[in-house]
Symmetry: C2
Subunit: 206 residues, 2 copies
């Protein structure tokens, strides 16, 4: 039995709160709220939640082609017949795949880096899937690589590194457009974005 001085009346509760509060963005108070909520749910529901977490961690695989999260050797996108295999969109992670997919504007394949070059965080080019991208391009069949990394310092550095690695392969290398966001008001747009949008102006269409 735990000490009377423990903040929690139950060791089981204390352990669950400690484990839950290790999740990012969840503090002790939220963890306690969630733990007490679980006590009001049925045993089956709590078991289903716990099982889904262990199943995810133990069962998840990574696509041999694009390194996206999947359940088989190849992800649903790489194994689809309806995609343009000549275009590869390079993204940082699975969330970015989902973001690009939700636009329904891209019908090619992806390459998930699984991170971004960030010396501050100790992430170098060898820690993310750049070599496999170079291999993939070298195998032929790809005519365009679209760099779709976040327009941050780390994203730009990673894009530039990949560009240097691929510039002599003859493949077309493009990057997603930068400019004023849809429905943004110009007076509230930051100077860097607006300046870049002016320099990168395009012939007026429609």
């Amino acid at each position: 039995m735990q000490s009377i001085n423990s903040q929690y009346p139950s060791l089981l509760l204390e352990r669950a709160v400690n484990e839950i509060s290790r999740l990012p963005g969840i503090g002790t108070k939220t963890a306690l709220r969630l733990a007490l909520h679980l006590l009001r749910r049925s045993e089956g529901e709590v078991d289903a939640l716990a099982q889904s977490l262990t199943d995810l961690r133990h069962g998840v695989r990574y696509c041999k082609c694009c390194h996206n999260i999947c359940d088989a050797d190849l992800c649903p996108i790489c194994s689809s017949n309806g995609r343009d295999r000549g275009m590869v969109c390079v993204v940082e992670n699975v969330r970015d795949v989902m973001a690009v997919e939700s636009t329904m504007q891209f019908k090619g394949l992806y390459h998930v880096l699984g991170g971004i070059i960030s010396p501050m965080d100790g992430v170098g080019p060898g820690d993310i899937e750049i070599a496999s991208l170079v291999d993939r391009v070298a195998q032929g069949g790809i005519r365009e690589v679209i760099l779709a990394l976040s327009p941050t310092m780390e994203g730009d550095a990673t894009s530039f590194y990949i560009y240097r690695k691929l510039q002599d392969t003859g493949v077309s290398i493009t990057a997603i457009a930068r400019g004023v966001a849809q429905n943004d008001e110009l007076q509230y747009t930051d100077e860097a974005t607006l300046g870049r949008a002016i320099v990168g102006r395009l012939p007026f269409a429609k």
Copy 2:
């Protein structure tokens, strides 16, 4: 294998996100962020989290005396020798026990109602631990019952219901003081609180 039209590249990921997003206050985007975070943690860490949740749900017990969450027949407070067994503080839930305990101003026992009378939510007096409180008082040995429910409509209704049930037992019934909160500025205190603090003024002490 799931449909290519699924938003998620992996069924396991989709299932984990669905389960996590059933928690209160956690939407799909946060659930996805948490699931992807778990993929970066070791299998042992994820297993420990999942196990702590099932252990909590299956193993938790409720104190036979005060109905607080605990790991044994009696909670650490009820089984302690250092508490004043003549005083019982009535609270809504385990979080309120922890809140009162953290003040270190109360050395009696608790009675956890496990809810509050709320006709809007379909919670009546029979759904919470009021009958067991009346039994506990009837068994004797208690000289004071302190009502420490939230000063809301439901809390006040529950306090009044308990008062009616106990008023003829001869036990002293008190309620936690209401007034201006410590370090609050008077000009920002709401009228109801300030009005009640004036009506309930006390002889100046120290």
